[in-house]
Symmetry: C2
């Protein structure tokens, strides 16, 4: 283990955490951080630091880090900007391994004092070998370790998964994490790198590359001082695991704002995009796409070709899926004569039996399963996409077993689109996804994710 690896290990797996600037006031960052820690796991020591209070949220408090009886692996700093240097020095004296500096008002502000303070902060941290996440961050979450070291208590409800997120924007990191919570997608680590005092994308990527709990990383980039360092790190990471990147500030109007927010040159969007792609990252432009793509990359291997078979339980969505397949540059598979003959025998003449296949009138499970089997066996088919509108007549529950059985019998990727009322099928979706069938709520989102999987595997360029 390198020194950096060890430092990051403690940052993500601290045995004890202190909150400097803990507060009883729910509108203070230090209060929410304490709530997050308390709700995420009771297996580690939590030390609120407060000049006067004896306890906060029922947890014994200390007047300073030096009074904490045991070791402190991680300190979360939520004190006014003017007090951070003092607090960081106390961390150094206590032998703290890592720090999360929630406080804002440094490099990103207009006054030059912000930049100076941040430089001093970096100096002290480097001297004490302290890795700093932030300043100007919401914190970090390590779902597998049940560590929510952020000012957002609901992150304690995140499900463990294999997608990690590094965001330069707290807001966008929250967008992704809220989507994960709303759609039941598992995450591994979520890090808001904020002003990047001494930890940047390029520092975290080598750690996540070795992290067995991370299969895929999402980056949200605003601007970088050392874009080459970022690109080199992305290239190295991408040679081992998939990486999805989004860069904000695509136009003059937004790029100016990005620069002023991060205190870094935002840089020409086109150069970033080209370099990131060149380095092996998948570049997306819609924040809603980040998690969709990450999910498919952690669950499926790219198919060898771009021929897609579409099955639906309603003709209309089947036609929309077909539109989406063609629009995104994939191809509707042409079934072999043998497949077509079998389907024509199996399915009633009431439905569309070419590709797309409408199985609205073949609603008994054996016929559904047999259709699945026939289509998956066709060598002209690389991937199967199924769409179902969850309904008393087309209950997702009735097709879970046949789907999982056929999934076991074929190496071909199967994607499922299921439109349903919120929360009505969460369990079934979780089971399907655990067993390797990604589920998307809208036809277009499934096809868009599949396109990225093919892009990743190079199959879009093939026959």
């Amino acid at each position: 283990m390198t020194k950096d690896d060890e430092a990051f290990h403690f940052l993500f797996n601290p045995r004890s955490v202190a909150v400097v600037g803990a507060s009883e006031n729910p509108l203070k960052m230090g209060h929410q951080c304490l709530l997050s820690l308390r709700e995420s796991g009771s297996h580690r020591s939590i030390y609120p630091i407060h000049p006067r209070l004896k306890e906060i949220l029922g947890i014994p408090a200390y007047p300073g880090l030096q009074y904490v009886p045991g070791e402190v692996d991680l300190a979360i700093l939520a004190v006014p900007a003017s007090e951070t240097i003092f607090a960081l020095k106390a961390c150094q004296e206590k032998g703290v391994r890592g720090a999360i500096i929630i406080t804002a008002g440094f490099r990103e502000i207009e006054k030059p004092s912000g930049e100076l303070l941040q430089k001093e902060m970096a100096r002290i941290a480097n001297q004490g070998r302290i890795k700093i996440i932030g300043p100007n961050t919401f914190g970090l979450v390590n779902v597998h370790a049940q560590l929510n070291a952020s000012f957002t208590p609901v992150f304690s409800r995140l499900k463990p998964g294999s997608i990690s997120v590094i965001g330069q924007s707290g807001g966008v990191s929250h967008l992704v994490a809220y989507q994960a919570l709303n759609e039941g997608v598992g995450l591994s680590k979520v890090v808001g790198i904020g002003n990047r005092c001494n930890v940047d994308f390029a520092d975290l990527l080598p750690f996540l590359e070795k992290d067995s709990e991370t299969k895929c990383v999402i980056l949200f980039i605003e601007g970088q001082d050392d874009p080459r360092g970022l690109i080199t790190a992305v290239k190295k990471f991408a040679s081992r695991k998939p990486i999805i990147a989004m860069k904000a500030g695509r136009y003059a109007e937004s790029s100016k704002a990005a620069r002023s927010h991060t205190g870094s040159l935002a840089g020409r969007y086109e150069i970033y995009e080209a370099s990131l792609k060149q380095a092996g990252a998948l570049v997306v432009q819609d924040p809603g796409e980040l998690l969709d793509v990450a999910k498919i990359l952690t669950m499926l291997r790219p198919p060898p070709g771009r021929n897609v078979a579409v099955m639906s339980f309603q003709a209309g969505p089947g036609i929309l899926l077909t539109d989406a397949v063609v629009e995104h540059g994939l191809r509707m598979a042409v079934f072999s004569p043998a497949t077509q003959e079998k389907l024509d025998k199996l399915l009633p003449p009431l439905t569309i039996r070419t590709n797309p296949v409408d199985i609205a009138f073949a609603q008994d499970e054996p016929v559904f399963e047999e259709s699945l089997h026939i289509i998956l066996q066709d060598e002209n088919v690389d991937t199967l996409v199924i769409f179902l509108l969850h309904h008393p007549f087309m209950d997702l529950r009735r097709i879970v077993r046949p789907l999982l059985r056929q999934r076991m019998l074929s190496p071909k990727p199967i994607l499922l689109g299921v439109n349903a009322l919120q929360g009505s099928i969460a369990e079934e979706v979780a089971e399907l996804e655990r067993r390797g069938i990604p589920v998307y709520p809208l036809p277009d989102r499934a096809i868009r994710a599949l396109k990225r999987l093919m892009q990743y595997g190079g199959s879009l360029r093939k026959g």
Copy 2:
């Protein structure tokens, strides 16, 4: 009232409804239709028709329509295809005003008998002046009248609103209605026209044009026998109320499927698109966009120009909004020097104070309200878009009052993007939308909807 108007009036506002083919088996359409009717309102008579059973779901049943004691305004037919002609004749004899034929297996199937049966059905219906919705439909819903005459009981939970949906695909109509349920958007009427025996888009549009509960209509089109009739009806409707259209089957692969599903020529997509636009419809290609656009059109008047001010409580999403503004062809407003001076005085130098305006550090309500006021007064601003990530520190509840007050003081459209955990802010969103501020869950969706509003008002072409 014309004869047609009267017939449609009874179809959407029946005093009594019979379900021919009612069943005790939950997997039968006739069972679900009965459930829907029972759950949507107890103020009208419901008559299950069943050859033997004395009651179904606790409702007294009759062996045939002729045994029903009172008048029957609407009959829902969920009998096998071979029995529909017989059932329709019984409707005619009973003096039924309108019929919904759920049964499939007519014109859309491969066998010529389907087409013949449907023609006979039309003949009988026209003779008896019965308007038929279907065959091959899920039915219809009139939310304001608490009528759920469909095979989907959850539609009884739809909120009343002013958006009506006419869909040629049951699946896509469900997509839109499920989205309305999930996002709390109100609907007026939802109609699945299915195979269009004697009621097509062109027949319903004049009725909805006069309907005071409908402000805006969504059409989902697969294929038409008489495209000119459709276009003429759209043109007439569009001269009075906004209309949003989506046509499936944009490519050869999907157009073939659409034709085989509906039994109609799908027609070249480009011709449909051009004619619909020419007739004054807004044409979209993403089913997820239909409701977003309808919502904004029912709530806001188009702004005179395309200059947008962006406020956000986090810099990252503000930058994404800016990207979206430019990408969609709108323009970031340049504040007047007076506005800029006021904002610079009001907001701390920690944030971006040009457009986009980041008010992360100005979290007290008076400062937020004052910023709103300053920006809305600027004559360089046509529309204001605000984004908030709902969070303990940026609680939507805290800005509802200031927002609504400023909304009262300015005629300029205000849109709100709020990302939140499912169900956490439903009440606040409902209140904001009742008072004329549409809310979208993602930055891009807000801007995309705004673009359509400007397209509708012609302001995209202006200054």
